[in-house]
Symmetry: C2
Subunit: 292 residues, 2 copies
């Protein structure tokens, strides 16, 4: 309901009936598992089946808990596409352990048949103020990882995070910067993530989405809440509960040539406390009213 | 002590003796009045005199409390340069009241002989998700204000705020965007503010400072604390307490041709709770050890 350039009343958007499984409007929807964080892999896969959601973004923590090969079998048997595995990265510290951990993540992504492995690159090392150095280290350590990923047929996806996380989570702060870095490698080896929460504010976002083109490996949606809660990691909301106009961003990603899944990834204490299946039903409705 | 590309131990920097009044290292230092928020104009002016700080950034609220012409006389008699008046702006709502309020702010800046009037442009209007529209309205309402400022000999200074404030405080989010907008007018009419807290994360910051050149109307310093406190407006710290390497930013601003005051502006509950004169002494020391 929210067109770009159109004011909308605050508060929740008008609701619709939950789309039934098989509804063509759900064809590109993907559940990022962290949205229903309390559900294990089996429960999340059940939820996708029940609501006709054809893809899932898995998290390494939950995959490890369920078992890697069991998780791979489960999603395959359910006919689910694995739109991403979250996450590798954290490349700004000691490169040795970072390379090791990312090699494991790459193997997991390969086993799961994930479209990409999302990389959150890491913030400033403790005690450091050397932002340029941290950014250089990301590039250097990434260069050590790409060959493993390429050999395993796993596409890496660099995720720029909102600048509020620059110090402690990701020194990759804009889509332009992510595309610049990714462009050192072939497009099928290193792509980028467009996550509405992280990029909506950027005056260059539409230009950079167009520039990213077939570098776009993942498109994630969730809203930016105002005010943000005390824990800055949990300020993401269900689409329609915040200030983001999703359609122009979705249209730009479409126009750039991206035809893959649209993943709903929400970090929010209230969403996590709610019943997982209710959350899935809500996000299917909101996806239709706010994003499509 | 913090060179770019050099790691520093976390925690407070090594201290030095408080520079005495007349110390040439203080020649460019300015106290932004909000740093010592509990001090009225008279007390802040006294503090500057006691510690030999040659310039002050005034706030309209405190000027109003002390009286406009009395404030003007006070700073003039004390020989203080008024590096800025904070603040006008808030241009994303109804333009009528915005123009009126900014005209008043311009008159105040002229009376005080301020180097510039800082403009915080405002966030999304309540209930709106129309970011492009809000940005367009900033430009349109600014165009109504610039002629008054030019006629009064007051330079406007557009302040890009950290993207975390895009929704609720300033839709101007990068220095590039601020320079783009300011460039519609002569350089002596509309400049930009470089505030380390707001721009330190930006991969383009050094390039954009160079590009800004003589558009730089104000240079403000304070640190970015990690973690940020629950109130996102109060996450600014004394230089040396956070993650910003100030010298490369200061050097870039110098290289761009800016020779004016360097204003210390800190929004921080602990700083506000401390003794005002102690805060001034501390910032004089930290300015020397971290910024110069």
């Amino acid at each position: 309901m929210t067109g770009y350039g159109v004011d909308v009343p605050s508060g929740r958007p008008a609701s619709i009936a939950t789309p039934a499984p098989g509804d063509p409007r759900l064809a590109r929807l993907s559940l990022n598992q962290w949205t229903t964080r309390r559900l294990g892999v089996a429960e999340a896969v059940d939820g996708c089946a029940r609501y006709g959601i054809p893809a899932i973004g898995l998290w390494r923590e939950q995959v490890a808990e369920h078992g890697l090969s069991a998780s791979a079998r489960l999603v395959r048997d359910a006919g689910l596409r694995v739109s991403s595995l979250c996450r590798g990265g954290f490349l700004t510290g000691d490169p040795g352990p970072a390379v090791q951990d990312n090699r494991r993540a790459i193997e997991e992504a390969a086993t799961l048949g994930a479209d990409c492995l999302v990389l959150v690159v890491g913030g400033l090392p403790p005690g450091s103020r050397d932002l340029a150095g941290a950014r250089a280290r990301v590039a250097a350590t990434l260069a050590e990882i790409v060959p493993y990923a390429a050999a395993s047929g796993v596409r890496l996806a660099l995720e720029p995070l909102h600048p509020m996380y620059c110090a402690d989570r990701a020194v990759l702060s804009t889509l332009a910067q992510a595309v610049d870095l990714a462009s050192r490698w072939p497009v099928e080896e290193v792509g980028v993530v467009v996550d509405t929460f992280h990029v909506w504010w950027d005056p260059e976002v539409l230009t950079q989405i167009a520039r990213a083109g077939d570098r776009i490996a993942s498109f994630q949606v969730c809203d930016f809440l105002v005010p943000q809660p005390a824990d800055p990691l949990l300020g993401r909301g269900m689409m329609g509960d915040g200030v983001i106009a999703f359609r122009p961003l979705r249209a730009a990603v479409d126009a750039a040539g991206y035809t893959g899944p649209i993943e709903v990834e929400i970090f929010n204490a209230d969403v996590w406390a709610a019943d997982g299946h209710e959350v899935i039903a809500t996000l299917a409705r909101r996806y239709v009213t706010e994003v499509l």
